[in-house]
């Protein structure tokens, strides 16, 4: 397991390095124009990077079995924070969404932390009620109540991207935790119709979907963001314009340093760069699943699986949005986009993964035997 963990750490460090370099390249013009300091974003991201690394180290040291007792309190804690976020006057409003909390000089986004908290909650639940997981109540409804509340709160922030991501993570963990396939499909269908209903009743989201369906038509207004993103890839070509030579970041592509930083990678580093990033996330995914596979117990396996999915699904959705495969969502690219909460949460998740890997043995036979033993015990 140590080798898998090393590869994972290596891939994540490469992503972090690329991220800070690309952020420096991307945000320079904007930071100069907005704050008269070309390094404004890089300095902040650098501080967060240190915090995230420390957090990851700590998480890698702490035995993940200790988290069992924290599952319920954490879930309640973040639920409370999310309630605070949507309370007017407490949550910080940016661009019409209340997503942030301010503590001291720092703002952070509780919805980011709901991801590991929810994974932890579900892992705890399924570890405890493994044998009843195939029932509707224990496999879907009861474990699903707190995450559903969270999703509801995130939804009214509003932050559709985070809602959807959380739903997908919950779905994945339920799936691996042992919920019935049929139940999951019904739940997914219900969730999607609710989501579709919400989209149809929100002109802004509706426009986003429409512009996604016909980029050219809406290229000047609603589709502008996406159009400029696509333009970056086209401008990049196979080998890219060269690091720092991109033009899209110079006020063509809005929010180039956050959600659309992948487009700038595409422009400056070309196909080589984007495929490289995709491969690194693929590596994270494979390593994560291997760690999950080799986890010593069910609890660890579900956690590892859930965290891996949380990272990779977010990355895939972000890349899908930037390349025009999915409608525009406000989701950051893990490890690379500017944003402290995102960086810290992803660092913590990788740390936990490494910790699980440390406990894991390649002793799969043992696991199988234990399973058999478990069955015998039930009999």
């Amino acid at each position: 397991m140590w080798r898998t963990a090393s590869i994972l750490i290596g891939a994540v460090l490469m992503l972090l390095t690329l991220g800070i370099v690309m952020l420096a390249s991307t945000s320079e013009a904007l930071a100069q124009a907005r704050y008269n300091n070309p390094n404004y974003f890089v300095i902040r991201q650098g501080i967060w990077l240190v915090v995230a690394l420390v957090g990851a180290l700590v998480a890698a040291k702490v035995d993940y079995h200790h988290y069992r007792w924290a599952a319920i309190p954490l879930q309640l804690f973040f639920l409370a924070l999310l309630v605070l976020v949507v309370v007017p006057g407490v949550g910080v409003m940016v661009n019409g969404s209340r997503r942030w909390l301010r503590a001291g000089g720092l703002t952070f986004q509780p919805s980011e932390f709901t991801k590991p908290a929810t994974v932890l909650w579900l892992a705890w639940w399924f570890d405890r009620y493994r044998r009843r997981a195939s029932t509707l109540a224990y496999g879907l409804i009861l474990p699903g109540i707190p995450p559903a509340l969270m999703m509801g709160l995130v939804f009214i922030e509003p932050d559709f991207g985070a809602t959807l991501l959380l739903a997908i993570i919950v779905g994945c963990v339920l799936f691996i935790g042992g919920a019935r396939f049929g139940h999951l499909i019904i739940a997914a269908a219900l969730g999607l119709s609710a989501f579709a209903f919400a989209v149809l009743h929100d002109p802004v989201r509706m426009m986003r979907v429409l512009s996604f369906l016909d980029v050219e038509k809406y290229a000047q207004k609603e589709g502008f963001h996406l159009m400029q993103g696509l333009t970056s890839f086209v401008a990049g070509g196979a080998w890219g314009a060269g690091l720092g030579n991109g033009l899209q970041k110079r006020f063509y592509l809005p929010e180039a340093h956050t959600d659309f930083i992948f487009a700038i990678i595409g422009e400056e580093l070309g196909l080589v760069g984007t495929l490289g990033v995709l491969a690194l996330f693929g590596t994270v995914f494979v390593c994560g699943l291997r760690i999950a596979f080799g986890a010593p117990d069910f609890f660890g396996r579900v956690i590892a699986y859930g965290l891996t999915m949380a990272i990779t699904v977010q990355a895939l959705i972000n890349i899908g949005v930037v390349t025009g495969c999915l409608p525009t969502k406000g989701l950051a690219l893990p490890f690379i986009s500017y944003g402290g909460s995102n960086l810290l949460v992803n660092g913590l998740m990788v740390g936990i993964l490494v910790n699980i890997a440390r406990h894991g043995a390649n002793d799969v036979e043992d696991e199988d035997l234990r399973d058999v033993k478990d069955r015998l015990r039930t009999l």
């Binding site: 013009a29 493994r130 997981a133 195939s134 994945c172 799936f175 691996i176 935790g177 042992g178 696509l230 333009t231 890839f233 086209v234 401008a235 990049g236 070509g237 196979a238 033009l247 899209q248 110079r250 006020f251 063509y252 592509l253 595409g266 070309g270 196909l271 984007t274 495929l275 995709l278 996330f281 693929g282 995914f285 699943l289 999950a292 596979f293 396996r301 699986y305 999915m309 990779t312 895939l316 890349i319 899908g320 390349t323 025009g324 495969c325 696991e367 199988d368 399973d371 069955r375």
Partner: protein
């Protein structure tokens, strides 16, 4: 849940995610390497900016560097009607602006009331004083855009030579048109990338072609002389009753044109209001039957060919000669005249007989070698070639008519140039009005050197005819009024009836005088032509006095010394310096 089933679900997850990864990879590859050429071009176009750098038009200068045409930077007054309307100031500001800019108030207010427009140009090229007054008012949403305007400081002086350029900066006449290529310069081009806010990124220039300033055209014209000539013309024209008149002054030895004036004329700063008729440069663009001045060429050819001698006598038939069934008349009847006197008294019959002696072939060849029937190639547009029909189209009496300057059409420049060839030892030069074209840094693009077009006469023949032409301005000749005190003038009068439908007019003439001076070493040639002078209709009476006036002023201005035998300083005469009062000087020093 069994481990087996969980493992299955792991695999399902892996496959689904693997598909997602693969889809994104394909998508990325198709975006990066895509064959979407139109998008690629649009991206390039949207991100690059092309700027043309406009340059000022070159100047036109006279031979001493005085500016005849130049660019001035003035300002257009512009306004934003939409903003003015929104703030409700359009009526007040419109009225004030109309007052200050001398515009129609209703029109200005009307133009400022267009809610849908963000830009109107109220008046082009506002003079600086008016502009300062408007500027001082600090009207909102009114601004000034620099605009270059062609300015002609001397107005109508030499207007037909200088010409004008239009609002777009394209030459429309004269030197402005002919040398447009040089004057206009070359626009610079800069292609660079711009950022999303449309700002040029200075560090990322893709292409930069420096602009080339318009070149200056230096004319051979002497502005002082030009003004003298025009003044003389303007003084004389009203009294002469002529509808038009034109003068060319040319340097005999180089072919440089020192002055060229044509009346009627127009003000270059208001060329748009000038009718076509006034814009015609009659000195090169008006073809007329030259009359007697043309005899010079025929007689010179006959003398040079040795067909006749100056003292050979011809019978001038007492003013009426029937030849081949047509009658030929002299203005003043003469009996028997020598060739020299035929020229002096300008006998048509005598000239016809001399031409017959020379024969059609040699007459045509001589005339063509004098440059008749083709353009001289002077650097001004609008030059006419004149008319000299090929011999095959001549009738049996054509020769006698051509000899007296009928049945041919010439421009004044051709006529003057032919006479200058006679004065220049027989070398026919190309008349030239542009001496050189230089750029603002002094590089010379083009320089004109004297160019010999042909040599119609030998040096001896040329001097002989020149000597005969001197007698025209001596007592008894037709051109006595062209005499210049202190100078001997070689010249010839010309009077031709203007053709009208069905024949020639009796009372409408082209009167001209062409001459060179000083006669024994000619320096300048001058032609004066009057169109329909009344009541004095002959060249000797109408054109010769103007010639005399112009010549007198020209020789003084150009510093041409009078003729006459050079005075030899006799070394035997003791030179005594003026006596200075020695004592004074000494005392001055001692002080």
């Amino acid at each position: 849940m069994s481990l087996i089933r969980q493992r299955l679900r792991f695999w399902i997850t892996t496959i689904v995610m693997g598909v997602a990864f693969a889809v994104l990879m394909v998508r990325l590859a198709s975006l990066h390497l895509g064959t979407n050429e139109s998008l690629r071009q649009r991206v390039t176009r949207a991100r690059t900016v092309r700027q043309t750098m406009r340059v000022g038009r070159g100047r036109i200068l006279d031979r001493h560097g005085r500016i005849l045409a130049m660019d001035l930077i003035l300002h257009d007054v512009c306004a934003d009607p939409a903003a003015l309307l929104r703030e409700g100031h359009h009526e007040f500001i419109g009225a004030r602006l109309a007052l200050m800019l001398q515009l129609e108030p209703a029109m200005v207010v009307g133009r400022l009331s267009q809610a849908g427009r963000r830009y109107v140009r109220l008046r082009r090229a506002v003079p600086d004083e008016e502009l300062r007054a408007v500027e001082a008012m600090k009207f909102p949403h009114v601004w000034f855009e620099p605009a270059s305007v062609r300015s002609y400081p001397y107005g109508g002086t030499a207007c037909h030579v200088v010409g004008f350029s239009n609002v777009e900066g394209v030459g429309g006449a004269g030197i402005e048109q002919q040398f447009d290529r040089y004057l206009r310069g070359r626009e610079g081009l800069r292609i660079s990338e711009q950022d999303g806010l449309g700002r040029e990124l200075y560090g990322r220039r893709l292409l930069e072609i420096a602009a080339q300033e318009g070149a200056d055209v230096h004319l051979t014209l002497d502005l002082d002389l030009q003004e003298m000539v025009e003044a003389a013309l303007d003084e004389a024209l009203p009294g002469s009753g002529a509808v038009g008149g034109w003068v060319i002054v040319q340097r005999v030895r180089t072919g440089e044109i020192l002055a060229m004036a044509s009346r009627p004329y127009y003000d270059l700063n208001a060329y748009g209001r000038a009718p076509e008729d006034r814009r015609l440069n009659r000195a090169i663009g008006y073809v007329y039957e030259p009359g007697s001045t043309f005899k010079v060429a025929v007689i010179a050819a006959a003398l040079d060919a040795g067909v006749v001698r100056p003292d050979q006598v011809f019978d001038c038939e007492n003013g009426l000669w029937h030849y081949r069934g047509k009658s030929l008349r002299d203005y003043h009847p003469h009996g028997r005249l020598t060739v020299a006197d035929i020229l002096k008294k300008s006998s048509n019959i005598g000239a016809a007989k001399i031409a017959l002696e020379l024969g059609e072939v040699r007459v045509e060849e001589a005339l063509r070698r004098f440059g008749f029937g083709r353009r001289t190639g002077v650097e001004i547009p609008g030059e006419e070639a004149g008319i000299l029909h090929p011999r095959s189209r001549w009738t049996s009496i054509s020769l006698t008519r051509i000899a007296m300057g009928h049945e041919v059409g010439v421009t004044s420049l051709q006529m003057l140039n032919a006479l200058c060839a006679i004065a220049n030892d027989g070398f026919l030069l190309r008349p030239t009005i542009v001496s050189r074209v230089t750029d603002p840094r002094g590089r010379v693009f083009r320089e004109t050197a004297p160019e010999v077009l042909d040599r119609p006469l030998s040096a001896a023949g040329a001097r002989r005819i020149c000597a005969l032409l001197e007698r025209v301005t001596e007592p008894g000749g037709t051109g006595t009024k062209a005499a210049v005190p202190g100078f001997r003038v070689a010249g010839k009068t010309g009077t031709a009836q203007k053709p009208i439908p069905g024949g020639y007019s009796d009372d409408r003439n082209i009167a001209s005088f062409v001459g060179v001076l000083p006669a024994d070493r000619p320096e300048i040639g001058i032609i004066v032509v009057l169109d329909e002078p009344q009541p004095l209709r002959t060249g000797g009476a109408a054109a010769a006095p103007i010639f005399s006036t112009i010549a007198q002023r020209a020789v003084r201005h150009l510093g041409i010394s009078p003729d006459g035998p050079p005075r030899v300083i006799d070394p035997t005469i003791e030179y005594s310096p003026p006596a200075f009062p020695e004592s004074n000087r000494d005392s001055g020093q001692s002080l």
